[in-house]
Symmetry: C2
Subunit: 313 residues, 2 copies
DNA sequence: AGAAACCATCGCTTGGGGCGATAGATGCTC
DNA sequence: GAGCATCTATCGCCCCAAGCGATGGTTTCT
């Protein structure tokens, strides 16, 4: 034995204190009265503290006993936490979860799912990375993240599995002060190419040379969606944005939608997928999170519902 | 045994994980390597979780093992807290401390001492009551409070011990709009008696009929020092206040000092005492707090020092 | 190849946890 | 007040899990 006082000692102490009687405490734990008596005498000796006043018929906690009772509860409660955690792990729950999400993924959908996740799996630490485009892929490949959330794969290695989550509507926009904004008719590619396009980029090598929706050779590359947003509003160029991000701008006129000849009906959508390595599929927690990132499983939050209504008119 | 997993299991787990080796972990705990091996196998079986990957030469924690290691540390750490607490109690430290303090006790001295107390005895819950005059005595008599802090005892039962703490300077004041305020010469008792005096009182029976510094038969009795303060400032009467409470009022003129004929040199001080039942003297924590309530042991806080300087010009 | 670690497994011993019995004390009931 | 029920303390006994030492297999370093 490494230490005189054990968990069983504390459990017997708690039972006796709760029941107000050694005998009753013993009954609760299916132990004889004698072991309770001996154990508590032993515990008192180990701690050097009188826990019970035995002068009356049934023992009553001393003040010291009351103080240590709270400590004892804390100890066994912590042990119960450990066992609960172990139970989860033995059922296959992953000990922690790292996820990387593309910036263009709808924020409210993400926050709603993550909030629900924390409530559902409070013991599972969740680490969230937000990256752009190809930068999502890298941590998934290396295994640092259990899965990633990203748009159409520029290059889809065979070792990856992807699973459709939802679609992000896309709009090409510009500031109302921008020359393109005054053109009502569908804009042909030739005209587009004459104006600087703002393009989201990232620092990874995986998406090098793989451009998505780039119509102009005159481009500025921005690694941050918020920066791109600000540049667009400042009239420094035109480019595509998720409609969810710019809808208030479109409503109040600080950005206007561009009608492109190449994109009929402005119906551009980008499908978003959960992507993970086929050899290490997500465990229960990761799977749960993936399910709750799908469009059908929006959180009951009001904002999410409103957003969905706008997405499917 | 009430439960398969014990504290010793966790301690062995922690040692092995820390050392990165079963043998080294065993050495640290003065146990054979075989018991470490067996114990960990047993623990893994109990929890249903593989803690170590034994495929390589020296075992390495699995992800689950890493997660449970943190939990294990939490459990034994909580147990260490319990034992530390028990150690304090066995050394005679009281499990908790209740104290009742008279409102007129200098606030900064009190807060300083209490703050230092919480730092010195973080495990000892401190309950503080603030009462007026005789109301301080009652919880001390009944034993609900280990000691009380109060002014001169109106009636000093022999079963109480008192110990001097510090002196509170006292001033008789009134609003500048009050008729007495315009009298420069020392005011005789006869004149005082013609004006309403505001007197601090309390709801206990112990101070019934025992008035302190009452010169007028026309009195209003206030159970709250703050209320008395407000009444004085409103010009509703005259009365005594601790100088510490009214010094800013005296400085900015919202109250003026009265020069009483009965009280030469305005040198009225009220000695304050720690009072406790002789049969239950305070333990180490209580004694520590009493020492730090004395005037010489002011906290190093700037305000307290400044206040003391003003008190002893 | 050999030494030196490491871990798993197997008997063997032993100490503490648990049981039952007993005795003394206290409170309830008739 | 006698009898009964229930409580705690203590004793002797049993037994299992914890611990030990030895053995064997494996990896790493020299």
């Amino acid at each position: 034995m490494l230490d005189g006082v054990s968990l069983d000692h504390l459990r017997i102490f708690i039972a006796a204190a709760d029941e107000g009687s050694f005998s009753a405490g013993g009954r609760r734990l299916r132990r004889t009265q004698s072991v309770v008596s001996q154990t508590l005498a032993n515990l008192e000796a180990q701690l050097g503290v009188k826990l019970f006043d035995r002068s009356s018929r049934s023992p009553v906690l001393t003040r010291q006993g009351l103080a240590l009772l709270a400590e004892a509860r804390a100890v066994v409660s912590r042990m119960d936490v450990l066992k609960a955690r172990a139970k989860g792990l033995s059922d296959g729950l992953e000990p922690d979860l790292s996820v990387v999400v593309d910036v263009v993924f709808p924020l409210d959908q993400l926050t709603g799912a993550v909030a629900a996740f924390q409530e559902k799996f409070p013991a599972t630490p969740l680490t969230l990375y937000v990256e752009a485009l190809g930068a999502v892929l890298q941590p998934v490949m290396t295994g640092r993240c259990a899965f990633g959330v990203m748009g159409s794969l520029p290059t889809a290695p065979g070792q990856l599995t992807r699973e459709r989550l939802l679609s992000v509507r896309w709009a090409f926009v510009a500031s109302p002060t921008h020359p393109l904004a005054s053109l009502k008719a569908p804009i042909p590619a030739g005209v587009l190419a004459q104006h600087r396009q703002l393009v989201l980029t990232d620092r990874s090598e995986l998406s090098q040379g793989k451009d998505f929706g780039v119509f102009s050779s005159n481009t500025w590359r921005l690694a941050d969606l918020g920066a791109k947003h600000a540049f667009l509003r400042a009239g420094l160029g035109w480019g595509g944005m998720p409609t969810g991000v710019v809808e208030t701008d479109l409503a109040n006129g600080s950005l206007v939608r561009l009608d492109l000849e190449e994109v009929p009906d402005a119906n551009l959508v980008m499908a978003m997928f959960a992507v993970f390595r086929t050899d290490t599929p997500p465990g229960p927690a990761g799977r749960w999170l993936i399910e709750h990132l799908k469009s059908g499983s929006a959180t009951p939050a009001r904002t999410a519902k409103a957003k969905r209504a706008r997405f499917q008119p």
